[in-house]
């Protein structure tokens, strides 16, 4: 860690500020101020094509929140998506990490190859996956036909739309869980395994008593991180089904619909505030957990 400067001189104090202030100032203007502005907007009837004066409407927008059936459905869809996606990514990622425990030739190459999907632009890959998932000329259905299965309409069948979204998201983010699971497994010191071997502990016992609990903290961090990311899901929804589809309308998609299609800025601000509260709650859980980990291990490694 770097040395701490007591900063007794006035010059040094201003220097401190000088280093840190520009970044903080930008964040204040672009991140914090808009949140207050949004709060104000949520009590008005501001319109996207605002030609009339903006008027206050009290808590009208918030009360709409409760009677608008779309909001409850969006909450449900988003929750379902987050749970399903993150669980699948966790199981797959962790499982793959277990498989990659040994050293072998070309492991680094394979690993890098496996990690590529998570660096791809979600919006662009979403558009492109539409080709893969297309009912008539998508290669997935070609493969299924070859294996003798039917031709599901992935992007138009209402029962399958959310699944299509999940498929793409899992493809994209499993590498993320894989990477972190790998790091967490590698962090377990080998002497513990050696001790277990001396005690002639069975493989399952070792896994349950040593591997799982010792890798859990870091993996937990990854789950939290991935969940907050999945909450924001927008790019894939826009690309694959559009924002106005009942089966896949996540919270961000609903916000887009209300703000940009219905043109209701005030209402959208109110809708977004509840989302923001949830996000901030999750963020503080994450940060508290991170802090706890840092205290425990020195650094989170």
């Amino acid at each position: 860690m770097g040395e701490r400067d007591g900063g007794a001189e006035l010059g040094d104090h201003w220097l401190k500020v000088g280093f840190v202030a520009p970044a903080l100032l930008l964040l204040l203007c672009v991140n914090v101020f808009p949140l207050f502005y949004s709060l104000w907007l949520s009590f008005t009837n501001a319109d996207l094509i605002g030609s009339g004066a903006v008027q206050s409407v009290g808590t009208l927008n918030y009360s709409f929140l409760f009677i608008d059936p779309r909001y409850a459905e969006a909450l449900r869809t988003t929750a379902l998506f987050v749970v399903a996606a993150v669980s699948a990514q966790l199981v797959l990622g962790y499982g793959l990490a277990l498989c990659l425990q040994e050293r072998f030739r070309g492991k680094a190459v394979l690993l890098t190859l496996l990690l590529v999907p998570m660096m791809m632009p979600p919006a662009v890959m979403g558009v492109y996956w539409k080709l893969i998932l297309d009912g008539s000329y998508g290669v997935l259905n070609h493969g299924l036909a070859f294996l003798g299965f039917g031709q599901p309409q992935w992007t138009t069948d209402p029962g399958l739309k959310l699944l299509s979204l999940l498929i793409v998201d899992v493809w994209m983010w499993t590498p993320f869980m894989l990477l972190i699971s790998l790091a967490s497994l590698n962090a377990i010191p080998t002497y513990i395994y050696e001790a277990a071997a001396i005690d002639r502990a069975g493989r399952w016992r070792v896994f349950r008593r040593i591997t799982l609990p010792m890798s859990a903290p870091l993996v937990g961090l990854a789950v939290l991180l991935r969940s907050t990311d999945a909450l924001k899901q927008f790019d894939l929804v826009m690309a694959i089904t559009g924002p106005n589809d009942g089966a896949t309308q996540t919270l961000s998609a609903l916000l887009y619909q209300v703000m940009f299609r219905d043109g209701k800025v005030g209402m959208a601000s109110a809708y977004s505030y509840v989302v923001l509260v949830v996000v901030i709650a999750l963020a503080s859980i994450f940060l508290r957990y991170l802090n706890h980990l840092q205290r425990r291990v020195g650094t989170a490694s």
Binding site: G2, G7, G18, F146, L179, L255, A268, L276
Partner: protein, 288 residues
């Protein structure tokens, strides 16, 4: 048990890379072949007669060539949007890395009041859903004349990449021993000179890695780009998304070619920074 492991790895490896492979194959197909109802995945040279229903297709660079054309619904050819992405991405990256390095150095070397809280505040900005933030930002931007400008997105991307930049650079700077700076300070250099001459050169590799992640983040961004820059200064992801709904259908081979070109830098950078991927994707909170 061991075989199971290999099988799982092999199957997943295939499933994971197949879409990317298919992308490359689609890019060299003709328009008709890209929407054929039977799978075609073996490219052959031109001029050979191929029966319908065959798995072979004639490879062609028509998709790549078409990238220079203006497709209906767009105002410019693909390369214009690529340039926009490049401009906005590079400028915001330079700004983010600069501000981030300065800020990280401050947190690393000085004792700052509420440091832990400030750092966590910076990190929390990453969690905000873009769609929630864009609502007030669009209204703010409108009064400043910033929608549909390069500057508008550059400012936004810089701010949203700051958390990444600060946390990553703090990790890198923390790893630089302070002894060199101490010595230089004792020799009478000012703090600023020490920063420029002693720390910065050593932080350069870290800055490069941070720059890569910031660039990739800006390169891939869609939510803000789509809502703020829908008419001018449009980036590639928005361009691709806007091709949908075209009456003649999506030009899949052209899209394939364009996507291939678009993601190539990403793949290259991923390979170059593979040792730091863990740090990068967890915003610097987890190090190996």
């Amino acid at each position: 048990m061991k075989n199971l492991r290999w099988m799982l790895l092999a199957v997943y490896g295939m499933l994971s890379t197949l879409p990317l492979l298919w992308l490359a194959i689609t890019a060299i197909k003709s328009r008709v072949d890209s929407i054929a109802t039977t799978a075609k995945f073996i490219p052959v040279g031109e001029g050979l007669g191929i029966e319908a229903g065959s798995v072979r297709f004639e490879a062609t660079l028509e998709g790549f060539r078409a990238l220079g054309e203006i497709y209906a619904g767009a105002a410019h050819p693909y390369y214009h949007y690529l340039l926009n992405t490049f401009l906005i991405g590079s400028l915001s990256t330079v700004a983010a890395v600069s501000l981030g390095t300065l800020c990280a150095y401050g947190f690393s070397r000085f004792r700052i009041l509420g440091e832990r809280d400030l750092l966590f505040f910076i990190l929390s900005t990453r969690f905000l859903p873009p769609l929630a933030v864009v609502i007030p930002i669009l209204m703010m931007y409108r009064s400043l004349g910033l929608p549909n400008t390069h500057l508008g997105l550059v400012i936004l991307y810089t701010a949203f990449n700051l958390s990444l930049a600060v946390w990553l650079m703090k990790g890198f700077i923390d790893d630089i021993p302070a002894a060199f700076e101490e010595a230089a300070l004792v020799d009478g250099y000012t703090r600023w000179q020490v920063f420029l001459r002693v720390v910065l050169p050593r932080a350069l590799p870290g800055m490069a890695v941070t720059a890569v992640f910031c660039l990739i983040s800006a390169w891939n961004e869609y939510g803000f780009a789509m809502t703020l820059n829908n008419r001018d200064a449009v980036t590639v992801p928005v361009y691709f998304a806007g091709l949908q709904g075209n009456v003649q259908g999506m030009p899949w081979s052209q899209v394939g070619a364009g996507v291939l070109l678009f993601v190539t830098p990403i793949v290259v950078f991923t390979v170059l920074t593979r040792k730091h991927l863990l740090r990068g994707v967890t915003f610097g909170t987890i190090k190996q």
